[in-house]
Amino acid sequence: MTPDTESMRARAAILARLRAAPPVAAPASPDVAAGLAADGAGSGDAAVADFAACARGWRAEVIETTPTRWPAVLRDLAVARGLRSVLAGRDTELAARLPEALGARLRWYDEPLAAFKPRLFDAIDAGITTVRGGVVETGSLVLWPDVREPRTLSLVPPLHIAVLCASTLHPTLYRMMVRERWADGLPTNALLVTGPSKTADIQRLLVYGAHGPKQLVIVLVRDDRDGTGVPA
């Protein structure tokens, strides 16, 4: 038998076994909102402070800035860390001001991964991405990689710089996915990222920088204060 017909046979057998069992009435659909703890705030100074404290607790570095000053913050960061090549996606909300911030350090993620792999793995010091939103409860970032910002941009370089707008904070992951109706259409890859990659697999000793980024810097743009919207 070919593997496909094998699989069809297995499918029929498994489903038949499941269907043969005496049916039981399915319990009512669980009420998720009622079981979760009451939400904290998702916006305002207190929420921003909570988010930052929580993210720092996971070893992310958080730098607060304003919608006008963030490119300067990026430049200072690149200089201070001696970054030689910083990778970014074109056509994002950030893209227009990246050349001014990063100058000759800037590289664009233009090619498909297969062609770009050798340089991505060996010659890029940092990847910079936009962020879809932040989760206050856990200090987490929600990333939705797409055509402009591939998923490996926030994964392969040893440093991930994430530009987060304070206006996109949500109290919890649950609130965020319900409010934004994620179930109606997910991207190929949706991620919740909390701190740099880590492992405690050797004698339970915590080490940062396992396989993903060794460091995570969150540039937190306070666009919630003067109502100017996305950084421009």
Partner: protein
């Protein structure tokens, strides 16, 4: 226990005796489990809130299992519409054949693999190696074990039985050009460097899945290291394998289960990554696999499912909390069980995977203290399931039900005889009186050797007079 001699569930008693006699191993498990127990406790300071969350998690899993056939079909439909190829496997060999077929179609000689207990269940690494395919573990703990020819002893912290001195020796021997060091940061850096080019070059990435979301057709992976993300992002082909029970109905059911999982497992409010994969690379995207496969494995799960008394076994989200809190597991360690899943969860799930003959001793490896059932974040009544399995191992199956695989395999003549005699005596008052009269009169004849009982205790002997006789005397 490294090298070729793999532990087997049949040898549980011998293996656990050996483990008990190893003070270093016992100390390392004890301290590791105490550490995990404390970290979990710190995550649930408010009992009321925890109970609410736990009953929500329980209801979500019960609900999904009640609708399992329907949800599996919905999942398959949504995955297929996204372009994911769904395969079904009844047995480990079915699953391995599917892997081999995918590898052959891509001419793949190597795979990088994220942590997946189901891939251990089917012994994927060994099967692929037998066909010349190098399947590399990339989770740091699993990688260390693979280099040493060892196997995991804990489902969340697989290399918990290794010390940094062990790791240092293994790396120095097996990774060319690595400096000898016992600095954990440096050891992890060595592992990272060694695996980097494997990620870059491997044509196939293999992972498990912590959850499958029926309504969106998503595969969900929970991890800290980033190796799972690399496996699902860099290779051209991604193959996920998991058990049929992992499906949940809706995306909004994910956050509560995720938080129960991370807090119960390692005492963290979140992991570094929650990775939700929905279909292969779409038009215009520059990375991500062009082909995504999902292999749905049965391997005995339908047996647990079809019998209401055992269905709750499948609610498990593989957090490992029951192991961390188990006084038996803490003492004998994970390898003694000789199964993919050790500890209380292993004792309730392995009989369905491997049959009750090979696993007859596992449900007895419990003091029934109840700690496992108390900490299980999805409310599995583990002690009750253990009792039912003990019964099923030793009794002839009831004719009105479909028997479990190898049900009654541990039945013994002597035991059956004893229970039959007991039932006879205790249901007939005159016979009982007659028996107890003789038993008390002939008490000196009771044997000094009474099996397991006398190994550590003085022999049991009837009292000089039965209670009934004493009372009758007093009344006179």
């Amino acid at each position: 226990m490294s090298g070729d001699r793999q532990p087997r569930p049949q040898d549980f008693k011998v293996q656990s005796r050996a483990a008990l006699a190893d003070p270093a191993l016992r100390a390392s498990f004890r301290s590791a489990m105490d550490f995990l127990v404390d970290k979990r406790a710190a995550q649930f300071p408010d009992i009321g809130a925890y109970e609410r969350l736990r009953s929500l998690g329980t209801r979500i899993r019960e609900h999904a299992l009640a609708k399992l056939p329907e949800l599996l079909e919905r999942l398959e439909q949504n995955l297929t519409a996204l372009g994911v190829q769904v395969h079904w496997a009844e047995t480990p060999s079915d699953a391995n054949r599917i892997f081999l077929d995918i590898a052959a179609r891509h001419g793949a000689q190597a795979m990088v693999k994220g942590k997946s207990m189901v891939s251990e269940e089917i012994e994927l690494n060994r099967e692929m190696a037998a066909h010349g395919i190098d399947c590399v573990e990339t989770d740091m703990g699993e990688y260390i074990l693979q280099l040493d020819g060892d196997r995991p002893s804990h489902i969340i912290m697989p290399a918990i039985h290794k010390t940094k001195a062990d790791v240092s020796r293994i790396f120095a021997e097996k990774i060319p050009g690595s400096a000898h060091t016992e600095d954990v940061d440096e050891l992890i850096a060595i592992g990272r460097r060694a695996l980097r080019e494997r990620f870059r070059d491997a044509p196939i990435g293999v992972t498990g899945a912590n959850f499958l979301v029926a309504e969106t057709g998503s595969l969900v992976l929970v991890e800290n290291e980033g190796n799972g993300r690399l496996c699902t992002s860099v290779p051209e082909v991604h193959v996920a394998i998991t058990g049929i029970e992992k499906v949940i109905e809706r995306l909004e059911h994910l956050p509560p289960l995720y938080t129960l999982l991370t807090r119960s497992a390692t005492g963290q409010a979140v992991t570094t990554y929650l990775n939700i994969v929905t279909g292969p690379r779409r038009a215009g995207e520059k990375d991500g696999p062009r082909e995504v496969h999902l292999i749905l494995l049965d391997n005995g799960r339908t047996q647990a499912w079809r019998d209401q008394r055992f269905r709750a076994t499948l609610q498990c989200i593989r957090c490992g909390a029951c192991m961390n809190h188990c006084p038996v597991y803490t003492r004998v360690g994970g390898l003694s069980y000789g199964t993919t899943y050790p500890g209380p969860i292993g004792a309730i799930v392995s009989p369905h995977l491997l049959g009750l003959d090979a696993t007859r001793d596992l449900p007895t490896a419990s003091s029934l203290c109840g700690a496992c059932g108390e900490v299980c974040p999805v409310g599995i009544p583990i002690p009750e399931l253990l009792m039912r399995l003990r019964g099923a191992a030793r009794r002839r199956p009831a004719p009105e039900r479909k028997p479990l695989r190898d049900e009654g395999a541990a039945r013994s003549r002597a035991e059956t005889l004893v229970w039959t005699a007991w039932a006879l005596l205790y249901s007939r008052a005159r016979l009982y009186r007659w028996f107890s009269w003789w038993a008390t009169r002939l008490r000196r004849l009771t044997p000094a050797w009474q099996g397991g009982w006398t190994r550590g205790r003085v022999p049991l002997r009837p009292a000089p007079r039965s209670l009934r006789e004493l009372l009758a005397q007093r009344r006179r």
